[in-house]
Symmetry: C2
Subunit: 593 residues, 2 copies
């Protein structure tokens, strides 16, 4: 139900192609609004303008209008194109002597200056209509004009076709925000969040509650920002997620809670598209008696498996060097050997390893994987997670290769949702596989059918965690939580060996009549990214930080004088090398030494 609704929402709000590359200027905001609600919002209430630049049509002919906007361009001192957030409109600069002052203003103002014009909506002369422009049938015959602000020489032009580096865009973010693409992304984000709110509040009675951002360090919260308080040695933390508060609200009877919440994680930006989960076929049984060395090796180990993916029409579109580069990628990045198998024996790979696959194994493989004649199988072996990771990556690489050759595999207008369930509750610790850690977090409830295994085989217990995937990208996840204090204590203290004292308030809350509860969190940035087709989450955030967490516009984080740190009872511990650097700076300058 949830993903159905989300799918409708995405389709309703995004443009027909799903990827907004060539926008017809001016029509986007209107389309956005029309698609998401019936009543058209009043965009010129409270302000000096009577209309927006983008809304004027033949139906407005003869109307006296006042418009405000930026000067987009000027042609031969006769025409001027004015832009606001809604679109573009052509303004005719008066040429008669009596309007000399208006002409002077409109001809002398630099590009991107802000002007207010008043005049009449008139038809363009026959043959001069511009069908590519939503306001292309009309123009404005100006009577008066006012220069509201002049613009100095810009670091780049506000035109979509002008290429600029991301660093420059971030440094002058307020200029970049004037682009149609950024306007579209941010306004769509706002509409989309509003639709979500209407769905939750108005249709289903959810309650929107703000939880604090100044909180306490949670166990294992190594990625939480710390905030010194005015009490010596005492720190707040910015929570990684409101997950504890969510649970406490459920204990507090605030049924049907939601929040558009900020999450703070002190880690470098990750690329926002990752292969999250892949469907693969397990073919270990086919190769139980193989003679191929690396397959034998893998199957002899406890977690060992042989896995494969099939690339339909692979023989038609992939070349020998493509297959080689895929094998190299697997070897270089995953240290995994990958073997291609072709259904037809005579098209077999010219390699000694490949040839050692027996004919009956090949037939069995073709049967199991339902391979067509022109398919190619990529086969690997090894530890289960590693084998899955490498094939997941190769699957995406193949898709890119095939699409580059003209095959349409992924319809950009299609929103395909997928629920991923039955995760394990625990994983062996990487540094010490004898101990357990939570696959997600220690508050996830075990699967009801597996509770009996908690005391005997905890590794076999499935969790009630679920992930939501859109077009191969994880966009959200959640879980049913543990509401039983004893079970929570057992998992924290006995299985995970955590210090339960740090979570005493949560455990106590579970003791006081906590109802069974669960929830889900969507990654809004990534979801909007997928809907708009933006290449990076930085394109759907108004003021994003750079990859290294810097604000390139204001230069945050920045140095502070020691006296400003004093009230917080902290001082900077300069690392040894920068200390040396500092002292060398403080050295008197002796050119002769």
């Amino acid at each position: 139900m949830f993903s159905c609704w989300l799918s409708r929402l995405c389709r309703g709000l995004s443009t027909p192609t799903g990827r907004v590359t060539h926008l017809i200027q001016g029509s986007l905001s209107r389309r956005l609004m029309l698609s998401s609600q019936r009543r058209i919002p009043e965009l010129s209430s409270f302000v000096a303008r009577t209309n927006t630049c983008g809304e004027l049509r033949s139906s407005h002919l003869g109307q006296e209008v006042t418009l405000c906007g930026w000067i987009q361009y000027r042609r031969q001192n006769i025409f001027l194109v004015l832009r606001d957030f809604h679109g573009l409109v052509q303004v005719v600069i008066p040429q008669d002597e009596s309007a000399a002052s208006v002409k002077k203003i409109l001809c002398e103002a630099p590009m991107e200056s802000v002007v207010q014009v008043s005049g009449t909506v008139i038809s363009r002369p026959p043959g001069q209509e511009n069908p590519k422009m939503p306001t292309g049938e009309i123009e404005i015959k100006v009577k008066s004009a006012q220069l509201l602000n002049t613009c100095k020489k810009l670091p780049f032009e506000i035109k979509d076709f002008v290429k600029k580096t991301e660093a420059l865009r971030l440094q002058y973010r307020y200029l970049d925000l004037r682009s149609f693409q950024m306007q579209y992304n941010l306004r769509l984000r706002s509409r989309m969040v509003m639709k979500m709110r209407e769905y939750l509040c108005n249709l289903h009675g959810f309650v929107d509650i703000e939880t604090p951002t100044l909180f306490k360090r949670t166990p294992g919260g190594a990625k939480e920002f710390v905030i010194p308080s005015r009490e010596p040695g005492k720190f707040y933390c910015l929570p990684q997620s409101p997950q504890q508060f969510k649970q406490l609200l459920m204990v507090g009877g605030l049924d049907r809670y939601f929040q558009v919440a900020r999450c703070y994680r002190d880690e470098g930006s990750r690329p926002d598209r990752q292969p999250e989960f892949t469907q693969i076929v397990d073919i270990s049984d086919v190769f139980r008696n193989t003679k191929v060395g690396f397959l034998q090796d893998a199957l002899s180990k406890p977690q060992g498996t042989v896995k494969a993916i099939c690339i339909s029409e692979g023989t038609k579109y992939l070349k020998r060097k493509d297959i080689e580069s895929l094998r190299k990628l697997a070897a270089d990045h995953f240290n995994q050997e990958v073997l291609p198998v072709f259904p037809k024996a005579n098209r077999n790979w010219n390699s000694p390893v490949a040839k050692s696959i027996m004919e009956e194994q090949r037939s069995e493989l073709i049967r199991l994987m339902e391979i067509q004649e022109d398919g190619v199988v990529l086969l690997t072996a090894g530890e289960h997670r590693k084998a899955c990771s490498v094939l997941g990556k190769l699957r995406l690489e193949c898709a890119d290769l095939l699409e580059a050759r003209g095959l349409v595999l992924r319809d950009p207008a299609l929103f395909s949702f997928l629920w991923v369930v039955d995760f394990p509750l625990f994983l062996p610790k990487e540094e010490n596989p004898g101990e357990l850690e939570s696959a997600h977090h220690p508050f996830t409830a075990p699967h009801p059918s597996d509770i009996h295994l908690l005391h005997t085989e905890p590794k076999q217990v499935r969790s009630q965690h679920y992930d939501l995937v859109l077009n191969g990208n994880e966009i959200g996840g959640g879980s049913i939580r543990i509401h039983d204090a004893e079970l929570q204590r057992y998992i924290l203290a006995t299985l995970l060996k955590e210090d339960v004292k740090l979570l005493s308030h949560l455990l106590q809350a579970l003791d006081f009549g906590a109802p069974p509860h669960g929830g889900i969190a969507l990654g809004l940035d990534r979801l909007i990214c997928l809907v708009t087709g933006a290449p990076s989450i930085r394109d759907v955030i108004a003021f994003p930080k750079s990859f290294r967490g810097h604000d390139l516009m204001s230069n945050a984080p920045d140095s502070l004088p020691p006296e400003e740190l004093k009230p917080y009872h902290i001082q900077v511990s300069w690392p040894a090398d920068s200390e040396a650097e500092k002292s060398s700076l403080n050295q008197p300058y002796h050119p002769e030494s």
Copy 2:
């Protein structure tokens, strides 16, 4: 227009009396929802229950229902009252042998345990209806029951009449949230914010944009929390308000922006009701030739003034000791002398100072202030702001006194809005009156008619700042901002002597075609406080901090081990006394020394 709409919103959402003290349990959420929208939200979608406890009526008779809730109380092992966020319902515990297991569950579960029951809605026997309870005509004949979670002994009962200290309420916030009053406050807040969003987004095309919380220190931002980054000596700050971002969004063409934003101020909680502004009458001219010493003194100084307020029916309701206590308050807290004047000479105050007010001054005063016979005038003199502050405070005190005597002065159901305008742009610095500081902040635009005074008489310049007051409480404020970079530079550098380098990104943004712009921010906590009649803003926030900024539930802020501070290149500077304490703890124990 704005305050009209806000007034309608407040009236629409709050209860008829404006102060929710005696709630009819169960009806509140429904009334809340009905009043704010036409379509009733579906409260039992996605969950196991078929209905909420609070919604069942005679119209549901005969229906098979499944309910979930907390056990509110139990009577003689026959009746049990079940509570959810929507209200209360009576459940009949089956007494026949065949339902022994159901009876056992429902009779043995401690209060506040969570149960799920299924059964039929039946009429209460004639005479047993409870008209005070919205579900009082029906009860549930239970067929099956399930104990979802047991509850241990609570620190206090979840009943509104049980008095608890605020510290206890904050420590067990998740229990306090189960109270009808907290449920009402938080759900009303959610609905009210949703109505605001619908008004802004759907009716007027505003765009909801999130601005960053990790930002850079702003000049004069002494109350901003600092956040160390992983770069040595570099800090982020939590912004006091998104004011710089607001302006940058305007420069970026994100016309009609709004946000429900968090503001972070590192200061103690203020009481949430303060005398903000008062209407008073200036009567300086009456006393130009006075013989009263403190009036003479005051009028001889440049900012000196004589001001008065009139308390209608004061002689009827106020006693001599009331007037004395008011004078004492003015003397103790404001160091101001206050003189009472009675219209009738024979009722004059028995004090040498009072008697020295000449009869003609008294008559003039009565005429000017339109004083009725039973009125009392409170008169003070001194520096303008001080005189206003003390009279503002006394006015509120008098109102409290008169209301305590049974007079109804302030209708709690009435929402009276007031705009305060024409503030001065600058004030003399308190520590150095020869220099200027901004009355609000340096980005406020001067009043257009006063711009010529900026170079000659800056103290006389009015600002384009405006405050919105509801029932005497400031609930919001805003301003038209400076969009001209030269004017902004002149005010920052020449008039305020600020270091403009720290604001170079903002000044540059103004240079690049900033449109004229302005806005307003409402204090949501305080507004909801006034609408719900809550005594403190802590009653309209789910997880508030205590007066000293502590989270009494989780014990934040908390200590951190030094190794967790290492990645941030900071260490704690322990104050001398706590250092001594620490070293004494580290001393070996020598009982003989």
